[in-house]
Symmetry: C2
């Protein structure tokens, strides 16, 4: 027979912290605290299995429950020395939910259960505090009528007409009548008459009497908590958070203790270490003569626990000063808890008439800075091992550390002007500019600017680079602006729909306000918030943070997955290297095409009618590209640099605005009509599936030849000079092995010439992107002509799922809401679908070439969940934006720990 | 030791017809004819292995070849009773190429080898025909200098300056000098002096003497033929035809016989059955006193072989009349050949001075009509078995039969006005109309019209349907016009770039000519040719053709693959059924949305801002859709009908032209600005990967609900009335099983209501398209919620290869030219790539659901090579356009025969 109820108290417990699934987080920790001898008010936990049974059996309980409950109550009574429902010094109980994972505010609580016409006098006598008792009774009636009775009656009252609101209004009327400002001005007599009025109203509205039987109160409360698991709010919350419906909640029934019994009573919360800084110092606050909810409500300024917890300007006495013996007892418990849980704990305590009770403990929430410091120090103090330390910091917390951020204290005092999508994390402040040229010019003059655009295109890149941050009114998390900004670790907000940009007037209209170029904005790119004016930013320097250095070294010892970065310029490559990248996984060559002195040759090439003309135009780019690659090879000396050949469709390089076309026509000695017609000819119905990637290099082999020559000559010259340049030439968008074969022949031929004229490149590799589904399923054929594969999971997701990332905004959010995809597959790789294509490609590729090097260079390379997947399927490396490298190092280490492949 | 040379003659041969790979087609058949006792001029074949050796060993021969050649010459001499190089009655030889597969005109031939200063007089004496001998010598010199000497000299003369042209000019000068009009006016003396002049010129230009040694002539010729295998032309031809380079050619050396020795000599060609009609009657023509090339050249009108071969108006005597004994001998050989080869043969013969020689036999080329008749009759006559009969007709030949065609005789006498892509086969004639409305109106008045458009869109469908044929100036083989026309079996030419359509003026400018609306055109959709005026069409009625009926019954007995049709309307369904479809594999519901009284509701739905408004608009379509489905179910009584839920993106249903938008605004009581902005909001960067397919039904469940209700109510009512309606509801564009689950829940719910209110539908199935790569690789998950899969290989190709079919014109033709893809993957399924996705899906799908029904409904369903593939991977059925059903029945039968799964 199943056991349904687990008791705790008096230094013992039937449950433990390990029984979280059965007892919920709260119940498991109450049991654990009791076991290790902390003064927990006695009580018991009804297991989650009862919840499941209850909701599956039309709200009936397992037959054996009644008897177990009686036993548990007797056990609690015995420890507490009071009796439930007994007139003389009665035991009061609380009923609280407690799921496996905290679902704050989603489920119900009822306090002070057991107060009836019979027990009220006994409690008054015992506490000598009549007002306190009637106030307890008032609270019980309010909660019970709302949580239990209204729901049981199946009533859905209109907004503001719920029983709780009606009772609250009765109290307000009474206060008005007596001209009271605060609740505490109500006297015992007031409260007594109020409870009478409450009961009349309840009978009126809900058609039933408020129960005067303690067991009825208890069963009603237990049932209400279990039923709330299936309530609308809780179900919606679980769908969003991905919590399974069949987990269920436990119910904790516990003896009431009161921090509001008088000046000898108090209540407080504490963190075993400072949650903001991670400092190893007990930190907390408390209120004399108060209940827990008063601390949370924040209506009274709390006292500090000790000097370490004192905020500037707070002169209230600390617990340490006022009652050193109780403080010392609390510190003992704090030490015991940290030692026992080996993690920073968030605790609640109550002092009832001079006796200290511990009400709750759980792992404390913390920010990135403190998580890192605690992890490092707890290992150094021997509290935890290294593996545990590595799992104590979330990758997102590390990311938080690496960007300047808007000072949260300051941010709290400002209202946001507008909200968009948080496309690039961190904070930035600067003057509004509306064109990339202006951004570049002002930045050159040393101004900090924020580039504000409807959306960005590759033609804007110079201005985007010059700006502190980018703000767009359109586009999603994978729009051009978002991708480019993340690549640079730059603050960016996209899809900020409230902005109406009047480019011709130099204005932005936003929620009825007009901003002008030159006005200052502050962006919080982590949250997507836009503020008017300059808010202060705070930042740490990762290079100077010893904890970070130590922690990342531990990551590197632990992980087996290599981490590279995506970088297009030598300075980005250098930064990536400094952040720990062991190579470049993706250098996009097309950005190099946009600089003014280059773009004209690119356009000449595109407009060329004869192969010779095209060839001569493209060869003009050779010296530029060669110089680009030389710089990157030098920055990454001794490490591999994967360079992708030209990828985007040619129409991205020609102007689409009429005035620009006319200018180009003049520059090129053509008619505007010729330019227009060529631009039109380049337009495609589905550019994503059009003439791009290696298809360009196959149609125009001279492009491949030029790029190969630039890469190989730069590398060979460096090698000749004694450097260690390691180029990996990557052919994009290969779906058929013959495409790669075709491009490889050109590259091989160029290398043969370079080898003879300049010299060998010992570490040269030629490989391909796997980003076309056909490429994935024919990876065995492709592997025969590739030295490496790099998964382009962005495009693989687009083609594999048949979602255009530019268009999926019309249905994908709805898909995620509906749970069709658990997450946006562009944010975190779709493991069962796109992941299957990756698995197929790995299996087929390695079958014919066991030493095939495998990596990923899509956006997913910086996403922790995706990194876990890539580790698990056996990739050699992931490549991500330079600023994500530390995050990826941590995620890779955690993946290795999870799989148990490393200590 | 290898044998290199195979002799034949005098009723014996070392080779046989089975040795085609070694001896080439020509050599193998010469050997075979000799073996079965036909009078073949003796000779021998040098095997293809020698060719391979020769080209791999820097044009050297295997050492043993010399000796084998000497033996073979002696053998030939013995049979012919003459000696090679011997002055008295010399043996002359021909040297001809002969590869495994005929490569017409790609390789070299040298005739009359063995004529030298020593042998000329002997031949004159023997033939008593001096002019004949010098003419032979002139021909030898011309061929040899061109084929052997010029090539050996490594000279690439400028255009028109080749040695052959120079020699031809010498002859022209001589003719001019003597004022001759024809070659035959040249006397023996003229020819003698001409050959002298030839030799001088050859020495001058090529620096070498024309060889006067017979063996040197023979070796030179053999080497030239082998070398020609690696010639530029032959290599290019093989690349196009997909013939492997390592096959090599054989060389046939054979005794010369002459049909031009005088009035007792003749030459002719024959077919053992009539190649145009298939009638079992010997058919051919001949020329007295002529060489084979004269028949081919067509300068003289040839005599008929017999009365059965006589063309109208030809009064020349037949061979049967003139020389009955020789004709009888020829008929004997004809019978022997048919019996031996059990197929219609194309033969060449020569009569030299009253002696009949058979020079060549090979399977005769035939058109569809004759192929069908011969296959059926040969089986009925016991000549071949049924499996052979089924393999004697190509699917394309059957297709040819099923469409009216431009009379080829008439077509030969007309020049095409323009050429486009042959998108819909058959012929059509009609008046030019430039708008779909006009097409519909004129067609209603009984006019035959041809709709000419730049390109077509779904808005044009009514006019396309009304027209006899469709002609567009843009678009490729899978453009909208091409797809729709093929679906209807309608004649269609697309991408006819010479057309410049001036819609406003009602004119078409084409190659300098102006056509107007109302002018008559004729289209040959099989070849893509456009003619001015009305050319006569010829047609057979498939329903009345007994041979076709019989033949298709044999196909059905033989095949295991089911054949269904794609049809959107009851009349198309009925036609499909008549052509042998065992069900409908795809009914597209969107075409039904375009009729005028419906489209307004569709647009109302699209413009709706509230779900209720959308719902009420969409529900207006219910009665229309129900009626559509009822008609199709009735037409297909007892057979399954697969209906696809709405698939195209909504922007296809709204007007994009400003004037139409203004009209719509007026109709809907909106502002044009509202309409424009909604239309713009629907625009997508990559509509192919956008908001379409089941994504619509998930965003707007009321669409799915309405369509499911229309299908299910129509079917349930029919069942209640005693009919056998078998709906299969197909959800498009499923990539994730939860998408199908979502849609299936809606359909199941509607069915539950219909079942209760109307009644059961015993043969209801609910399944999905597999057309998204993710769907293919997660087919195991999808199969858990699907009753069937239908592969949408069009979209699977687009997404799997990453090719937009609308845009791939910019690179795909080049890809096919370069051999990257062997064929356009939209025409014939890419078996190794997209086919692999299909294989993966089948394997995964059947693993979890063994009885999962599997079909294909993409364009590939009607392509014979693709049908072979689908048979092989184990699909249950293919679905194609109604007019392709007979073709598919044949292809499926041939696939079964190939795999040996059926007798």
């Amino acid at each position: 027979m199943s056991k349904y109820i687990y008791s705790f108290g008096a230094g013992k417990a039937e449950g433990s912290a390990q029984m979280r699934n059965l007892l919920g987080g709260k119940g498991a920790n109450l049991a654990e605290m009791a076991s290790i001898g902390l003064p927990v008010p006695a009580g018991f936990t009804i297991s989650t299995e009862v919840c499941t049974y209850f909701n599956a059996h039309d709200r009936n309980y397992p037959p054996a429950l009644q008897e177990e409950l009686d036993t548990a109550i007797r056990h609690t009574e015995k420890i507490m020395g009071r009796h439930f429902g007994q007139p003389d010094n009665p035991l009061l109980l609380s009923v609280r939910s407690g799921a496996r994972i905290s679902m704050p505010g989603m489920m119900e609580t009822v306090l002070n259960i057991g107060l009836t016409s019979k027990t009220l006098p006994g409690l008054v006598e015992h506490t000598s505090n009549e007002r306190f008792v009637w106030d307890c009774y008032r609270r019980l009636i309010t909660m019970y009528s709302d949580v239990v009775m209204e729901k049981a009656a199946g009533i859905s009252p209109p907004e503001g007409q719920g029983i709780r609101q009606q009772l609250d209004r009765l109290m307000d009327e009474l206060k008005e009548k007596h001209d009271y400002e605060y609740d505490h001005q109500l006297t015992a007599a007031d409260l007594k008459s109020l409870t009478d009025a409450y009961k009349v109203r309840i009978k009126d509205v809900l058609g039933k009497e408020f129960p005067d039987d303690p067991m009825e109160q208890l069963w009603g409360s237990i049932g209400a908590v279990f039923a709330s698991w299936d309530g609308k709010r809780a179900v919606a919350y679980r769908r969003i958070e991905g919590i399974p419906n069949d987990w269920g909640t436990a119910v904790n029934v516990q003896a009431m203790v009161f921090g509001n019994l008088g000046e000898n009573s108090a209540t407080g919360v504490g963190f075993t270490r400072n949650p903001a800084t991670g400092e190893n110092a007990f930190y907390g606050e408390w209120l004399p003569n108060a209940q827990g909810e008063d601390v949370v409500a924040g209506l009274r300024t709390p006292n500090p626990l000790n000097e370490a917890s004192r905020n500037e300007g707070n002169t209230l006495p600390s617990l340490e000063e006022l009652t050193p013996h109780l403080y010392k007892e609390l510190v003992d418990y704090r030490n015991k808890l940290e030692e026992h849980y080996t993690d920073m704990q968030d605790v609640e305590f109550t002092i009832e008439d001079g006796t200290l009770y511990m009400l709750q403990t759980r792992a404390g929430k913390r920010n990135g800075m403190s998580a890192l410091r605690m992890a490092v120090e707890m290992f150094q103090d021997g509290l935890i091992d290294k593996a545990t330390a590595l799992q104590r910091v979330q990758p997102s917390q590390l990311d938080e550390l690496l960007h300047p951020m808007v000072d949260p204290e300051e941010e709290r005092t400002h209202n946001a002007l507008a909200k968009g999508l948080p496309a690039g994390p961190g904070g930035a402040t600067g003057k509004i500019v509306l064109t990339p040229d202006k951004a570049e010019n002002l930045a050159k003059q040393g101004e900090k600017v924020i580039l504000v655009r409807t959306e960005t295109s590759p033609e804007d890149v110079h201005g985007m680079h010059a700006a502190e941050a980018i703000l767009t009114s359109r586009g999603g998390m994978t729009s051009h602006a978002a991708l480019v900004a993340r690549g640079w670790g730059k603050c960016c907000i996209v899809g900020c729909q409230d902005l109406d940009i009047k480019l011709d007037r130099g204005e932005i209209h936003v929620n009825g306000m007009i901003l002008r170029e030159g006005d200052v904005l502050t962006l919080n790119g982590t949250k997507g918030l836009v503020y008017q004016g300059a808010l202060p930013l705070i930042a740490i320097d990762p290079a100077k943070n010893e904890n970070l250095k130590t922690f990342l070294e531990w990551c590197d010892e632990t992980r087996s997955l290599g981490i590279r970065a995506n970088a297009d310029r030598p300075e980005d490559a250098a930064q990536a290297r400094q952040l720990g990248a062991a190579g470049i996984g993706l250098t996009r060559t097309e950005h190099m095409f946009f600089e003014p002195e280059r773009i004209k040759h690119v356009r000449q090439m595109i407009l060329a009618e004869e192969p010779e003309e095209r060839r001569s135009a493209i060869m003009q780019l050779l010296p530029f590209q060669k110089e680009d690659f030389r710089g990157i090879f030098l920055a990454m000396e001794g490490l591999p640099v994967t360079i992708r050949l030209l990828d985007p469709p040619l129409h991205e390089f020609v102007p689409h605005e009429k005035s620009h076309q006319i200018k180009l026509a003049t520059d090129m000695g053509r008619t505007p009509e010729e330019i227009r017609s060529r631009v039109e000819a380049l337009e495609e119905f589905n550019p994503m599936l059009g003439h791009r990637g290696c298809r360009l290099g196959i149609s125009y082999p001279e492009i491949t030849e030029m790029q190969a020559r630039a890469i190989l000559e730069a590398a060979a010259e460096l090698v000749r000079e004694g450097h260690d340049a390691r180029p990996e030439i990557m052919v994009p968008l290969v779906g058929h092995f013959k495409e790669l074969q075709n491009q490889r022949e050109i590259i091989d031929e160029v290398y043969e010439e370079v080898r003879q004229s300049i010299g060998e490149i010992p570490h040269l590799a030629i490989g391909t992107m796997i980003e076309v589904p056909r490429g994935a399923v024919t990876a065995d054929e492709i592997a025969t002509v590739a030295d490496f594969f790099s998964f382009g999971t962005n495009d693989l997701t687009q083609m594999g799922c048949g979602f255009s990332r530019d268009d999926s905004g019309s249905f994908l959010p709805h898909y995620v809401d509906q749970g069709i995809y658990p997450e946006d597959p562009f944010q975190s790789i779709d493991q069962s679908g796109i992941g299957e294509l990756v698995r197929i490609a790995i299996e087929k590729g390695r079958r014919v070439k066991a030493d095939l090097k495998l990596g990923v260079c899509g956006e997913h390379g910086g996403d922790p969940a995706s990194i876990h997947f890539f580790h698990q399927v056996g990739l050699d490396y992931v490549s991500c934006s330079p600023f994500r490298v530390p995050v990826a190092r941590l995620a890779a280490a955690q993946a290795a720990l999870k799989q148990g492949t490393k200590p």
